[in-house]
Structures are given as structure tokens and as C-alpha cells.
């Protein structure tokens, strides 16, 4: 090796080191919290997380029964019924929006596609991840993954695999934002070229696992109240995930426009109303279809005799009060061009989804059982912690990466 070469490699090394130092400085800077630390939100969120950590420590040493009300007759409680089954329905906005933007190319929705994907991705990580808290023997969770024990006839097997694959797809869809944040132009281009494939894959997976969550209950015939049990649960779950996800997008949009005001360009703010009304239209249409399907199923299963019992009234409340009514409100809001009505409709819709998913997983499940399940405060606490953790990570990312705003010179 002559002197020249040595100096060249030396210089190269220097550049690499410099870049590395620059990068780590950037990372350290970005990792630091932005803004004041001791805000009321942070204090409350922090304490919720700490309490949950203690509770989970107890749960993993003393067993699930130590902090939950789960029993031999109610093996699945709030953590599955709400966190996983309801949470995943709420996260449905991501696949619907990617369908609108990347498949139908409705450019109107482009400004919110990124934040929705981020929300969807985090929802899966945290809510589907909450499944792990509920597993009695989580160390064996690798069995159905690495293939030494594939229970391929199991709907849960399908759902679990689709969760994992879908998270990957959503991560790929979101990855250009990360590359922009880090200033990696060439990698960004590469990642962006993967988007369409990931989107198509993601929509397919979503169709299947949204309905798959419903299919979990196909074998509960005889346990689930006849007003809710139907062979069409998968279809109903799929259709309802569309308006559940979009209502969540409407609600989240409303909130983040208040919280992250400074991030949002004025153009975007103006287009926001148009977007909300567009989504409201889709909600109204799909809810109408859903209501109609519910009606057909009801007629098909001939569950008349249950209609005028307390269970029947409860069922009617769900279907009329929280499907038909918000559907009407969406239509009314569209006619009057009233954001307020649309927002109320979105909230009612979300309540309706919670009701429906909890009815199937908990309330109307084993409806004949004399001793009922209701969650302990500790189960609720841990659920809150999961939500809080998601919000914190979401805020961290939105404050750093180009999610709501656009980076100059990085346009698509």
C-alpha cells in the first residue's frame, strides 16, 4: 500500500466518521422530547403507564387471574374484546384510504393518507400487540410463526399471520416518511416504489383479517346469543370495519387539527372539510349496506322470538340507535353541509362499533350464564395504558417526521 492510498482510505474513513457523528447528533436531538415535559397530559399519561407496568409485573408473575376477572366460562375479556377486536376495526381506516388514494387515485384524500397509515400501523402494533399480554404462555408464540407447529385449520392462525404481515405492509407504506425525516433521498425513492405493492397486499390482508376476526366466533354457535350469531359474521365484520375505520379518521382528523395546528398548512386546512364530507358519504353508504345486511341476516335466522326480550331491546339499540341513526345523521350532515352533524355521526358510529364488538365477544357471549364477566379496574387501566402509549408514540413521530406537513423538495 503506498502513501496515497492510505491517505485516500483515511480521508474516506474520516468522512464516514463525520457523517456518523452528524447522524448520531441528529438522532440524539430528535430523541429528546420537544416542548415542556411537565404538561398535564404527560403527568397523567406517565402515571397511567407506571401503574400499568406494576400491574403487568403482577400479571406475569402471578397469572392472569391476579389482575383480571377472566374465568373458565369467560376466557376472553376486555383485552381481547376491546383492545384487539374493537381496536383492529377502528384501525380499518388505513386500508380504506390507501384503496381510495393508491388504487382509485382519488387525489383529494392524499393529504391525510400518511397520517392514517401511521395511525393504522401504530394501532396494530399496540392493540394487536395487546394480544401478547393476554397469552397465558407467550413464550410459545413463536410456535405458529416459525412453523414447527402450524395449526392451519385455525382461524386464529390466519388472523395472527395476517396481523404480522399487515404490519409489515403498513410499515413499508409509511417508510418513505421515515426516509424523508432522515434525509435519505435515494432510499426514499426505492421505498416509495414499493408502495403500490404494499398497498395491494395490505388491502387483501385487511379484507381477510377484518372478516377473520368475525370468523373467530363462527364456532361459538350455541354460546353466542342467536340475535348476534350468524354464519355471516365475517361479512358483517368486514363491512363494518370500513365505516368504523373512516369514522375514526374523521374523529382523529378533528382532534389532530386542534392539537397539531402549527403543523398543518393553510391549504390543507381548507381542503379538510371537503375530505371529511367525502368520507362521510362513504360512511353513510356502507352503513346503509351494513344495516340492510343486518336486516337480511335477521330475517334469514328467524330470531323473531327474541326481539321482544331484554336482549332484543339491547340488539335494537345497537342496530337502530348506533347504526341507522348515525347513518341518517351522516346524510343529514351532508345535506346541510354541517361538520358538526358529521362529527356527531362519527362518534355515534364508533360507539356502535364498540357495542357490536363487545356484544359479540363479551356481553351476548354465554348470555345464559348466571355469573357474568365484567372487567376489573386493572384490566381497564392496562387498556388505557395501551391507548396512552400509542398516543405518545404517535405524537413523537408527528412532531418529527413529515406526516401532517410536507417537507419542501420532497414532494411526490
Amino acid at each position: 500500500m503506498n502513501e496515497k492510498e492510505v491517505s485516500v482510505t483515511g480521508r474516506r474513513g474520516e468522512i464516514v466518521v463525520k457523517e456518523l457523528i452528524k447522524f448520531s447528533k441528529f438522532m440524539i436531538n430528535e430523541l429528546k422530547p420537544k416542548g415542556r415535559l411537565l404538561t398535564p397530559f404527560n403527568v397523567i399519561a406517565g402515571s397511567i403507564l407506571i401503574v400499568a407496568a406494576i400491574l403487568l409485573a403482577i400479571r406475569f408473575t402471578k397469572g392472569l387471574g391476579s389482575i383480571t376477572n377472566l374465568s373458565q366460562s369467560y376466557p376472553w375479556g376486555l383485552w381481547i374484546g376491546f383492545d384487539v377486536i374493537t381496536g383492529v376495526a377502528f384501525a380499518g381506516g388505513a386500508y380504506v384510504l390507501t384503496f381510495l388514494v393508491y388504487i382509485l387515485r382519488m387525489e383529494k384524500y392524499h393529504p391525510i393518507v400518511r397520517v392514517t397509515i401511521l395511525n393504522g400501523f401504530l394501532a396494530y402494533v399496540f392493540y394487536a400487540g395487546a394480544l401478547l399480554l393476554d397469552l397465558g404462555r407467550p413464550w410459545n408464540v413463536i410456535n405458529p410463526v416459525i412453523g414447527n407447529s402450524f395449526g392451519v385449520s385455525s382461524v386464529l392462525f390466519l388472523v395472527a399471520w395476517h396481523f404480522m404481515l399487515y404490519m409489515t405492509a403498513e410499515f413499508i407504506e409509511f417508510s418513505p416518511a421515515i426516509a424523508e425525516w432522515l434525509g435519505w433521498r435515494r432510499i426514499r425513492k426505492l421505498l416509495a416504489s414499493l408502495t403500490l405493492g404494499a398497498v395491494i397486499f395490505g388491502i387483501t390482508l385487511s379484507t381477510l383479517h377484518q372478516s377473520g376476526l368475525g370468523a373467530l366466533y363462527l364456532m361459538t354457535k350455541g354460546k353466542l346469543h342467536p340475535l348476534w350469531y350468524t354464519e355471516f359474521i365475517p361479512l358483517l365484520f368486514f363491512v363494518s370495519s370500513i365505516f368504523a375505520g373512516l369514522s375514526m379518521v374523521i374523529l382523529e382528523g378533528t382532534i389532530s387539527h386542534k392539537v397539531f395546528r402549527n403543523q398543518i398548512s393553510s391549504e390543507h386546512r381548507d381542503s379538510h372539510n371537503g375530505i371529511v364530507f367525502g368520507l362521510a358519504k362513504i360512511c353513510a353508504a356502507t352503513m346503509f349496506v351494513y344495516f340492510f345486511l343486518k336486516l337480511l341476516v335477521f330475517l334469514h335466522d328467524q330470531s323473531w322470538q327474541f326481539l321482544f326480550t331484554p336482549w332484543g331491546y339491547w340488539y335494537l339499540l345497537e342496530v337502530i340507535g348506533f347504526v341507522l341513526l348515525p347513518c341518517m345523521l351522516f346524510i343529514h350532515g351532508l345535506k346541510r353541509e354541517s361538520l358538526l352533524f358529521v362529527r356527531i355521526a362519527a362518534i355515534l358510529t364508533l360507539v356502535g362499533i364498540v357495542l357490536n364488538r363487545l356484544n359479540i365477544s363479551i356481553i351476548a357471549f354465554k348470555w345464559y350464564e348466571p355469573v357474568r364477566y365484567y372487567p376489573t379496574w386493572m384490566e381497564i387501566e392496562v387498556t388505557l395504558a395501551v391507548i396512552v402509549a400509542e398516543i405518545i408514540v404517535f405524537r413523537w413521530i408527528v412532531n418529527r417526521m413529515p406526516v401532517l406537513r410536507e417537507l419542501p423538495g420532497m414532494g411526490e
Binding site: 374465568s71 376472553w76 397465558g136 404462555r137
Partner: protein, 286 residues
């Protein structure tokens, strides 16, 4: 473009593999001779010898001896896999031993994503500790609510009758059958032969039995078969379960999966191309 298309094809292939194998949903070969047990409740004296034998054979705590256990209907539990209950009927007291039904097409094994719940070749449905991840989907799915979970353990196990598979493999009878003090109240044997014995008893002692072998058709057939003198719903059996097997309830959904995985992506791709072209047109017109 190439990369995109490759990615999509790869995705489809992967999905089809994942889904395609599902189609053969844990269907148990019905022609194979599976073993089972016939429980003749008219011959059971309620001595509970089977309960003690079960506890001993499986290392479970010894059941309580007191007669008062009969006062309330008991269910199986993490510490007791087999339970004898007493029912007051029009024809007097009837004792019924209940445990896992060892379904021909078990809902639990179909539900299990790790194959921890498993229908053995011999017939008993067993739980395999090394595979189970404790999701409890088997408990949700079992039509008889049999599997029980240890809620107060950091290393929880599931509990259910294994029909003494190890003993069967050694040519022995299940512990409960071997220790039954009744006159053939429990009979172990090939399921088809048990059904014949059951028929013979029903027709041989007309009036002594209701004409129904519980388990012959329920949920697609079970390894445990029951005879009784009173209708089965008087003995705590569900008569609303139907004769369709539980795995059949999810079969249609699982069949749809590969169809969606193969047809939806190309369809989406086609729409995406079409909309792109349209956009291009609009732009050039402008």
C-alpha cells in the same frame, strides 16, 4: 415496475401457501377405527371410583370424599378432569359422569393455532404442553366448555381429560373404565362397536332407555357415547348443538381465503392501472 410486479407475485404465492394448506381443515379420517367409551347412566351407582382413579392416574389432587358434593352440579376444573353429578329425575336419581367428549372432529383442535390440542390417531383428544401458547381459543370454541385454564399460575396449563392416551397405547384401558364398580357402566372399545352395544341395550331392554345415543351424531359425533333412561336435557346435556361438526362452521370461510388472495390483488392492480391511464389522459387533455 419489475420490482413491483415481483413483489406482488411473491405476495400472492406466499398468501396462497399460507391459505392453501388450510383448506384441508383438520379433517379426521372417519374411516379409521377410533376408540371411545360408552357411559351407561342407568348402570352408574354414583360411587365416584372413576373420579378417584382419574385423579390418581393423572397426578391430580384427590377429589373430596363427602356425599355433599352431589348437592350442587359440579363442572370439570383445573384439578378435576372427570366429574360425576347427581340429577333428580322423574325416574329417581341418575348419576352422570362427564368429561371431555373426545369429539370426532374437535372444535378445540381446529381452533388451536399451534396444534397443542390434538386429535390422536387412537381417538383421544389431548393437550400438548410444549406447543400451547395459552390463547384460550380452544375454550371459546369447545361446545361443551371442557378445557380449563390455570388462571393463577405464571406458567399456566390447560386441563382436560386425555382419555389416558398413554395407557391406551400400552394396551390398557382408561383408568376410569378399569376402576368402574358398576356392571359395565363404562365400556371402552372401538367406537363403532360401542354404538352396536348401545343399540343392543336399547332394543334388548325396551322401556329402560330413551332411544337416543348421545354423542352418536352430536357435533358430528363424539368418542364418548351416553345411554340414559330419561331425556338427555334432564341430565345437563345440551340438546341444541346439532349434528353438524364444529369445524364445518368455519370451513366455508377458510375456503374463501385462497380465492380472495388469488383474485383480489390482480383485480386491485388492474383498477390501479386503469385509473392511472385515465389520469394521464386527463392531464394530456388539459
Amino acid at each position: 415496475m419489475d420490482r413491483k410486479e415481483f413483489l406482488i407475485t411473491a405476495n400472492i404465492a406466499l398468501g396462497a401457501v399460507l391459505a392453501g394448506s388450510k383448506v384441508r381443515a383438520a379433517e379426521v379420517n372417519e374411516k379409521r377405527e377410533l376408540m371411545g367409551v360408552l357411559v351407561d347412566t342407568t348402570r352408574c351407582m354414583g360411587c365416584r371410583s372413576c373420579e378417584y382413579a382419574c385423579a390418581e392416574a393423572n397426578g391430580l389432587p384427590e377429589p373430596e370424599e363427602d356425599e355433599s358434593v352431589f348437592d350442587n352440579e359440579r363442572t370439570q376444573s383445573e384439578t378435576q378432569w372427570s366429574v360425576v353429578n347427581r340429577y333428580e329425575t322423574d325416574l329417581g336419581e341418575v348419576f352422570v359422569k362427564k368429561q371431555c367428549m373426545h369429539c370426532m372432529q374437535p372444535a378445540c383442535a381446529t381452533a388451536c393455532l399451534t396444534k397443542a390440542m390434538y386429535k390422536s390417531e387412537e381417538g383421544p383428544v389431548i393437550w400438548r404442553e410444549k406447543k400451547c401458547m395459552g390463547c384460550r381459543f380452544c375454550m371459546i370454541s369447545c361446545p361443551f366448555d371442557i378445557p380449563k385454564f390455570e388462571y393463577h399460575s405464571a406458567v399456566p396449563k390447560l386441563h382436560k381429560c386425555q382419555l389416558c392416551l398413554d395407557r391406551i397405547r400400552n394396551g390398557e384401558q382408561p383408568a376410569c373404565v378399569e376402576n368402574c364398580l358398576g356392571d359395565e357402566a363404562l365400556v371402552f372399545g372401538k367406537r363403532s362397536e360401542l354404538i352396536e352395544i348401545a343399540r343392543k341395550r336399547i332394543y334388548g331392554e325396551l322401556g329402560n332407555y330413551v332411544n337416543h345415543v348421545y354423542g352418536e351424531h352430536e357435533v358430528g359425533g363424539t368418542g364418548m357415547l351416553y345411554l340414559a333412561s330419561v331425556p338427555f336435557d334432564k341430565l345437563g346435556f345440551r340438546n341444541d348443538l346439532g349434528s353438524e361438526s364444529y369445524p364445518a362452521l368455519t370451513r366455508q370461510f377458510l375456503y374463501t381465503v385462497p380465492v380472495v388472495i388469488t383474485l383480489l390483488p390482480p383485480f386491485l392492480l388492474a383498477i390501479s392501472h386503469a385509473t392511472k391511464r385515465e389520469q394521464g389522459k386527463e392531464k394530456s387533455e388539459e
